[in-house]
């Protein structure tokens, strides 16, 4: 057996080759990282260029129309706001309370484990299946029809697992010493949760809620089953009315063959992205404003 010296010329050459391979590899990795970002950039520029001519006040004040230059997103915008508001009223209190139960009350055991697995699996169910659930349960089962309320409740079920997961993260981040200090002063379990844990977890919970809200606002597939109505030339007056939302109105316009409608759809996408950007900026602002270092 021969032992080669480190100064062996062949070894140096091989090392140089290995280093070169490393440089090529890093460059490849950098390019791969860039692909996603460049794609996002092209997408935004393309949508902005397509939609720019239709960015005018009529976009938000006009109702859908057969003529692209007269059509707008008034009913869709109002529909989106109404659906999101009702959904928020239903889903977020329930989601936060469920998270409090799982994080602060539930005793570790089989049943709790089952609950956790169940929430995780629910969060991964494709959204289109929530549409089928809404159709079978709310529209037909409870005879709500294809109404605003059925749509909002369906979306509430859709964002519930997401809310529970993010709220639990926020609750878990509150240090245990906070709870112990409150218990030491004689607080009951609910008092500890209500007066100490929840206030400290509030920014995190709120961030999760806003993320869930933006998920719901961008959701199309489940609502097609519930509000497939192509043409809604009025504002909803009660929760039993037909409705439409931004993504669905966009989908309708994209499905039409006339390319003018595609531009109108692009303008609607800009509107939708603006709403989402506003929501997410709020979430980031909330997170930064109240970040507590333990």
């Amino acid at each position: 057996m021969t032992v080669r010296s480190v100064a062996d010329a062949g070894w140096r050459e091989r090392l140089a080759r290995r280093e070169r391979a490393g440089a090529v590899f890093v460059a490849t990795c950098q390019v791969a990282t860039l692909v996603g970002l460049v794609f996002l950039g092209i997408l935004l520029v393309d949508v902005a260029r397509d939609g720019a001519p239709y960015l005018r006040p009529e976009l938000v004040t006009n109702f859908p129309s057969r003529f692209p230059h007269r059509a707008g997103y008034a009913s869709a915008l109002v529909g989106t706001v109404c659906v999101a508001a009702i959904m928020a009223l239903v889903a977020f209190p329930l989601g936060v309370l469920a998270a409090v139960y799982l994080e602060e009350y539930a005793r570790p055991g089989r049943l709790t484990r089952l609950l956790e697995v169940n929430v995780a699996n629910l969060a991964a169910v494709p959204s289109v299946l929530y549409g089928l659930l809404g159709l079978g349960l709310f529209v037909e089962g409870l005879r709500m029809g294809k109404s605003l309320l059925a749509g909002a409740l369906t979306l509430a079920l859709l964002v519930l697992p997401l809310t529970i997961l993010t709220a639990r993260e926020a609750l878990r981040a509150v240090p245990f010493s906070m709870r112990e200090a409150a218990y030491a002063l004689g607080a009951s379990r609910w008092e500890v949760v209500r007066h100490h844990v929840l206030p400290y977890a509030a920014p995190g919970i709120l961030t999760g809620i806003i993320l869930a809200l933006s998920r719901a606002v961008g959701e199309t597939a489940p609502l097609i089953m519930l509000g497939a109505l192509q043409y809604v030339p009025f504002l909803p007056r009660s929760v039993w009315d037909y409705f439409t939302v931004l993504p669905i109105q966009i989908f309708n316009y994209v499905s039409l063959p006339n390319p003018e409608f595609h531009r109108l759809a692009a303008a609607g996408i800009l509107l939708l992205l603006a709403v989402l950007l506003g929501l997410n900026a709020t979430a980031i602002w909330l997170r930064n404003r109240s970040r507590i270092r333990w």
């Binding site: 090392l15 280093e19 391979a21 490393g22 890093v26 990795c29 791969a32 990282t33 996603g36 970002l37 794609f39 996002l40 092209i42 997408l43 393309d46 949508v47 397509d50 329930l94 989601g95 309370l97 469920a98 139960y101 799982l102 009350y105 539930a106 609950l115 169940n118 929430v119 995780a120 699996n121 991964a124 169910v125 494709p126 289109v128 299946l129 549409g131 089928l132 659930l133 079978g136 089962g141 519930l160 697992p161 529970i164 009951s188 609910w190 606002v217 961008g218 199309t220 597939a221 089953m225 497939a228 993504p247 989908f251 994209v254 595609h262 692009a266 996408i269 939708l272 992205l273 997410n280």
Partner: protein, 330 residues
């Protein structure tokens, strides 16, 4: 004494209320399974309904079914076999064939293309962010990549249909590429699930203990060798879980494929052709007028059940893989 008992009772009620909202998620799961299972059973019982003269006289959709497919009447097992083995899907047309394989093929084709984009790109990006990028750069690039996951899918659908497909037609495939095709839908879907692969994989790779890297450096390995031969294998099970999760997302994705891949069932593996996925079929039926309980309404839930079983299976697999990973490294 009295007040403390009252307080205790209040605590008890609060706990009950909290538990109720906790178990609501179980109710949702049960509801999903129940609705899908009930309607699926009703779908496979259609041949029996069609054999019932009282039902038949009141239901034009059943009459059309009997007219097109007299062989199915009274024969549910034939429908079951046809559903899983035959290659024509036309419940919305007068021929009424119920072989679900073309929809399944469309789903598999688009998802495979998406994975072929997302897995290599996502892994390379994760490797770069975890092993090579400076901390400041990583802190900025990772959230930027995650923005991709926050873009509504309808936007991707629009982009695939009005930008990617014309681009590919003009510069690569010419008219061989259909206006709606599996390729553009799959490519764009791949970008959509890219952050799922890259973020999760990056988390796992960073969790690999530093000792392993230092040991390899001490033996004279270069940074690439450490990344590829030490960190990557150590993180492999977590990466596999991320990929399975990404696949499940691709299989359940709806709007991109409904817009860009098409709404014509097609038994093909050619990515340049129009295909229809399971999810796109659900959208197609929902866009039309489907009276409650009709033949079309029930096909909706039968293919929905198929989708549910597929995605649930993948999620269970990925959770299993992650659990094994945790036992070994944390």
């Amino acid at each position: 004494m009295e007040s403390s008992r009252k307080a205790r009772r209040r605590e008890r009620w609060i706990e009950v209320g909290l538990a109720a909202s906790g178990y609501l998620s179980v109710v949702v799961t049960v509801a999903i399974v129940a609705v899908l299972a009930y309607e699926t059973v009703q779908f496979f019982r259609l041949p029996l309904h069609a054999a019932d003269p009282r039902l038949l006289s009141a239901r034009p959709d059943l009459q059309r079914l009997v007219e097109a497919r007299p062989d199915l009447v009274g024969n549910p097992w034939r429908l079951v076999r046809e559903f899983f083995t035959e290659t024509t899907w036309s419940p919305l047309f007068s021929t009424k064939r119920f072989g679900v394989l073309p929809l399944l093929a469309g789903t598999i084709l688009t998802s495979t293309i998406a994975l072929a984009v997302a897995v290599p790109l996502g892994l390379l990006a994760a490797t770069y962010l975890s092993e090579f990028a400076a901390e400041g750069l990583r802190a900025r690039v990772k959230p930027a990549l995650e923005l991709l996951a926050g873009v509504p899918t309808i936007v991707y659908g629009y982009f695939a249909l009005t930008f990617v497909t014309p681009l590919l037609q003009d510069y690569v495939f010419g008219q061989a590429l259909a206006g709606q095709n599996a390729l553009s839908a799959g490519l764009v879907m791949g970008i959509m699930i890219l952050p799922l692969v890259s973020s999760l994989s990056e988390d796992v790779m960073r969790a690999v203990p530093a000792d392993l890297r230092q040991g390899a450096y001490a033996l004279g390995a270069t940074r690439m060798e450490v990344a590829l031969r030490v960190v990557l294998p150590a993180a492999l099970s977590g990466i596999a879980a991320a990929c399975v999760l990404a696949l499940s997302r691709a299989v359940g994705e709806t709007m991109i494929v409904a817009l860009a891949a098409g709404q014509t069932p097609n038994w093909t593996w050619n990515p340049l052709e129009t295909v229809e996925t399971v999810t796109a079929f659900i959208v197609q039926v929902s866009l039309g007028d489907t009276p409650y309980g009709s033949v079309e309404y029930r096909t909706l839930f039968a293919v929905g059940m198929l989708l549910f079983v597929m995605t649930l299976g993948m999620n269970v697999v990925s959770v299993r893989v992650v659990q094994r990973f945790r036992e070994r490294y944390l």
